[in-house]
Point group: D2
Chain length 159, copies 4
């Protein structure tokens, strides 16, 4: 049983024409999983709708507590890319759970996007990897604490 938790980020940015602005909207995760023809039951917990530059240590503590209190063994967390490595590190050290963070460098609702591939990576990682915390981005499965976002090159890299 995989628990999905959404926290916001570029993956869920939508254009609001009335505001002439893009903001984090309702998560695209449900559409992604439907289109992927997944055959497992799932539940999506919409925890936050934040750009990850606005994530606070309190947000990270709440997320960690939420995961600890949850019976599920596998977690996929969608998150903004800018502070994904920080959040991943804040989730380390929880026994017996496989926690995978992912997101996208281009919104899921764009025609050309990495969002769908990344969620696919996360869903497979949570089924294949040993307990621990991971980031699935840029085609790579990284262990938490061993990855950074290279903002200039717009990609995730090993530390």
């Amino acid at each position: 049983m995989i628990r999905f938790i959404t926290t916001g980020g570029t993956i869920d940015k939508i254009y609001f024409d009335a505001l002439s602005r893009f903001e984090v909207g309702e998560s695209a995760l449900n559409e992604i999983l439907n289109e992927a023809l997944v055959q497992f039951d799932y539940e999506i917990v919409p925890l936050l709708r934040k750009d990850s530059l606005e994530m606070t240590d309190e947000d990270r503590r709440n997320l960690r507590d939420r995961i600890i209190a949850d019976d599920a063994k596998g977690f996929v967390i969608t998150h903004g890319t800018d502070t994904m490595p920080e959040t991943a590190e804040a989730l380390m050290g929880i026994d017996d759970k496989i926690i995978v963070l992912t997101g996208a460098l281009t919104p899921a609702r764009f025609r050309t996007t990495d969002a769908v591939f990344n969620v696919g990576m996360a869903v497979a990682t949570v089924q294949s990897a040993k307990p621990g915390v991971y980031i699935a981005m840029s085609g790579h499965v990284f262990e938490a604490g061993k990855v950074r976002k290279n903002r200039d090159a717009n990609r995730f890299e090993p530390l």
Copy 2:
């Protein structure tokens, strides 16, 4: 280093208007990996362009030999869905390699498709799983020999 091998299947079906017909065309895998913003080097080996109902035991032997002779440790193989379980079983028992088969129930070139998610699953599995043979379909990572395609319901299920 991940070696990608394409063998055909629905994932790569294209509409040829001059023929008024759909056939397996050039693989969509390169576009999928580019759009996913993957940061690893990769090589795609276009081995076959077959609907999997036309795969023969000789084809499967050639594929197995190809993998054994290859130095790479990780393989992602795109394949038609109808006989993917058979081909997966034919690849079991090769030491020290992680082999993941995937494909799609709807062509990659369709607007709504499971292809991108499935390739994402396969790319993550080849990095996270123990040596062995796997199928990544229907949102699930299956071990070879423990999966079947349910044609009526159009999904992959545990045996």
Copy 3:
């Protein structure tokens, strides 16, 4: 008031995995008009689901009779591309109506398709042109009787 009539063709071809085959399915026209944010009321009449190589003279007579009997002044007809010029000619000579045929060289449900642009062309032509019969394909608005499909080059051209 625009009456939409669907007759089939490549524009509406869908992949039926259970059959390993593509066939004309339910029309994509409703999704196209919704996504285009059109603000007029419309009705879609699903007349046929034929590949246009299978359209008969009787089909064309029925279509003509249907249009004559209809109060509406403007008609958009989606149709297979192969015999679109023949059907257009069979509809000439009906007073006071603007009739525009269109379709697509690639199915509407594909990621890259001319279908949406073509329907947009047809919807504008039926509002802008003088009474008569037209084909909107290949970026061009043709008068019936003055156009052919060049099958080798996969495009519509003036006769």
Copy 4:
């Protein structure tokens, strides 16, 4: 011969991850026309990259002068939606030219967008309508001076 002139607007908004922001980028018009399999030669003149709330009367004068000085008879102008009616009115009264303004309420690079349909409408209008100035939006071909944008309802309506 259709001259295309791009001035910016939502149709061309792109997400710049490095800036965590969406801005008007290079026009999507070329991709739209290619995908539509248009068979005419065309030239795209990238005049401006403005959100239309930032269009000035001087910008409108320059656009008008540009059109008057141009030999072409048909013009398709992509433009932001907010002040498209104002720009349309500023272009009235130029003899012997068919000028069609269009744009989109959702960026062309989104998966679900009105952009492609709207450009299709404009390309057909410039071939079918009498000399004058038009707006092709919301599934409707409007004459300049007889249309407004209803911002609350996010649609174009007759005045």
